[in-house]
């Protein structure tokens, strides 16, 4: 339908392409006959004439520029500021990804210790397909709540069993992915809040150790920090790291929600002297992170590898996994029973987990979402009667108390969050994590960008966030009528059948067995 206000951009661009040389001639004459000052414009239009000639005839890469010339640049210029404009002005409070403004501002408020009560009603799309928490008519009185306390390694009666007293922990973010100030702010905040922090797979945790907080050392598939020259586990190095008093647990990373089944490559350009030293690698050659541990190419060897790390470190040792095939996990569990080797914890990562950089195809398309993965693993462990042999940690976009409580109800013993803590540091979700250009100075090594991230001012925000999350979690817990998080079950949730989890429940082996 043609409207009277129709703007024909093709005609406009033709007009512009004719006007530029015409104006050049006009100003050239004016400069010659009226005043030489007009030649400032002459020169500007000469530049545009030349640029337009190159756009439309010389270059062959850009279709828009070839067809429409200089006007085509307007598209690129306006498009390039689109993300900022959308975030500043046009995106609604609930439509950005991965975290919308409402979710982010909840974290900011918690980190700044500002009251997070909202008025008039929920901003969420309140459709019936949301998982909700079922409250009771008789909430738990505050004094009846049992203090949160879980001990990793108690099942094996370890000498160095590790007890946490707050329900959330800082998930794996390596030095390398994060800059110095970010790592130290998080570590100092963890110390203030008395929670452990996962080192990520970035090798020897020099900056994490500076702040003296409790650490969970993560072993990635390239074994950074504890590797031999050919990328296998070096027992002496592991024993040495595990002997540090700050290192309280070891986490073997089997897979990560953001890119499960995918290895990585550290290009040689990125290997500085410091990175080479911390990660235990050589400069001048690319280092490959294989998609799985070279030691773990069969189920038997995988369980044996867990045993080996447990023995060498003497610390509570578990693994992180993003669930793919439930049947595969079942085989793993059977092998654990056969060898009588159990990890002290399993960290279940959901496909919604974040990362500094992953191929979009993996980020968007691979792995089970957390709720289904967690429920599957919980069911599987229970079915085999070994749920009491280990703890379950849940991770994957768990930044709000509501999501965290749902994870507790599905069987988690503790919660891991990474991006929640990045937002507490002040992350504005600029989506620059892989580019070394983070405007907040979190995921960059550029000293100019890091200088704004003052450790003294950021560390208390981490502690505030933990404190306020814990407060909200306890309030939610009391509303359910439970006295501790371990009492929560799926009975405390309202799971509509048209959610991913509800659908899974309808088709889960338990339900099918009960039906037949």
């Amino acid at each position: 339908m043609a409207s009277s206000l129709h703007i024909d951009l093709h005609k406009i661009s033709k007009f512009v392409n004719l006007s530029i040389p015409a104006l050049f001639v006009v100003f050239l004459s004016a400069g010659h006959f009226v005043s030489f000052y007009f030649h400032f414009f002459t020169v500007a239009f000469l530049f545009m004439v030349i640029a337009n000639f190159f756009y439309m005839t010389v270059q062959k890469e850009h279709v828009i520029l070839k067809n429409f010339g200089l006007m085509g640049q307007a598209r690129y210029i306006i498009e390039s500021i689109g993300p900022e404009m959308r975030q500043y002005l046009f995106a609604s409070d609930t439509e950005e990804r991965p975290f919308n403004r409402e979710e982010r501002s909840e974290v900011y408020r918690k980190a700044k210790n500002i009251d997070s009560a909202s008025s008039f009603g929920s901003q969420q799309n309140f459709d019936p397909s949301e998982i909700k928490i079922r409250h009771t008519m008789f909430p738990t009185p505050k004094e009846a709540l049992q203090p949160f306390k879980i001990t990793y390694g108690e099942e094996r009666g370890l000498e160095f069993a590790y007890t946490i007293t707050r329900p959330i922990m800082i998930s794996a973010m390596s030095y390398g992915a994060l800059g110095t100030n970010a790592v130290r702010s998080l570590a100092r905040g963890a110390k203030l809040a008395n929670i452990p922090m996962n080192t990520g797979e970035g090798g020897y945790p020099e900056y994490h150790l500076m702040e003296d907080c409790d650490l969970i050392f993560q072993i990635g598939t390239a074994k950074f920090g504890v590797r031999t020259d050919d990328g296998l586990l070096d027992d002496t190095k592991l024993a040495e790291i595990a002997s540090k008093p700050q290192i309280r647990m070891i986490e073997i990373k089997f897979s990560q929600g953001a890119k499960p089944g995918k290895g990585g490559l550290l290009p040689k350009e990125k290997i500085t002297d410091e990175i080479a030293k911390l990660r235990g690698i050589k400069k001048g050659a690319d280092v490959v992170s294989p998609p799985y541990h070279p030691e773990c190419d069969t189920v038997e060897k995988t369980v044996a590898f867990i045993k080996r790390v447990q023995n060498v470190s003497g610390l509570p040792t578990g693994f992180k996994i993003c669930l793919g095939k439930v049947s595969e996990f079942e085989v793993l569990v059977e092998e654990m029973k056969r060898q009588d080797v159990y990890p002290d914890f399993i960290t279940v990562d959901g496909a919604e987990g974040g990362t500094g950089a992953a191929p979009k195809a993996f980020l968007d398309g691979v792995g089970l979402p957390l709720l289904v993965g967690l429920a599957s693993i919980q069911d599987c462990l229970k079915r085999h009667g070994i749920r009491n042999k280990m703890k379950l940690n849940a991770s994957g976009k768990l930044i709000s108390p509501r999501a965290q409580l749902v994870a507790f109800a599905l069987g988690a013993d503790a919660i891991y969050s990474a991006r929640g803590f990045m937002l507490s540091l002040g992350c504005i979700q600029a989506l620059q994590c892989g580019n070394n250009t983070c405007p907040i100075g979190i995921t960059t090594h550029d000293p100019e960008l890091q200088k704004g991230l003052v450790i003294e001012s950021r560390a208390p925000r981490i502690a505030n966030y933990v404190h306020n999350i814990e407060h909200d979690l306890e309030e939610l817990l009391r509303a359910t009528g439970c006295k501790s998080f371990s009492e929560l079950t799926e009975e405390n949730l309202y799971i509509p059948s048209d959610t991913v989890l509800g659908n899974y429940r309808l088709n889960s082996p338990e339900v099918q067995a009960a039906a037949s």
Partner: protein
């Protein structure tokens, strides 16, 4: 690497050509006043031009803004050449000035080409793939 060195040499020559006249422009030297008078420009005019030349020199010497300095010096030299063609002519001293202006103009073109990736609208002129993945 080789282009980088060539570009730096060109930058230094342009800075030298532009820079050596600045002293005369800012001290109201009679030769300068006489030459700009032919263009109908007084002290304001040649001091404005001189200021812009100073800015161009500074931008040319800062690695991250080289291309902007080159574009500015290209523009100033285009104006100078037009001045010589239309009003000043090429007699005696003016001829030497014109020669230097032409040299600086050519070198500016060279610098713009070598540093094209510093500004995507220049990179687009040569069809080089720019880092902006949205461009078709």
């Amino acid at each position: 690497m080789k282009n980088n060195i060539i570009s730096w040499i060109a930058q230094l020559i342009v800075v030298f050509i532009l820079g050596q006249t600045l002293f005369f422009k800012f001290t109201d030297a009679p030769e300068v006043a006489e030459m700009f008078a032919k263009l109908g420009m007084g002290p304001f005019g040649y001091k404005l031009i001189g200021s812009l030349e100073l800015v161009a020199c500074i931008l040319l010497l800062i690695p991250s803004s080289t291309i902007w300095g080159a574009i500015l010096s290209w523009g100033l030299m285009s104006g100078a050449i037009m001045g010589h063609i239309s009003k000043i002519g090429f007699e005696g001293n003016a001829g030497a000035m014109a020669g230097m202006a032409i040299a600086a103009w050519l070198l500016s073109c060279l610098i713009i080409f070598f540093r094209r990736n510093q500004a995507s609208f220049i990179a687009n002129m040569f069809g080089t793939k720019s880092s902006n993945e949205m461009q078709s």
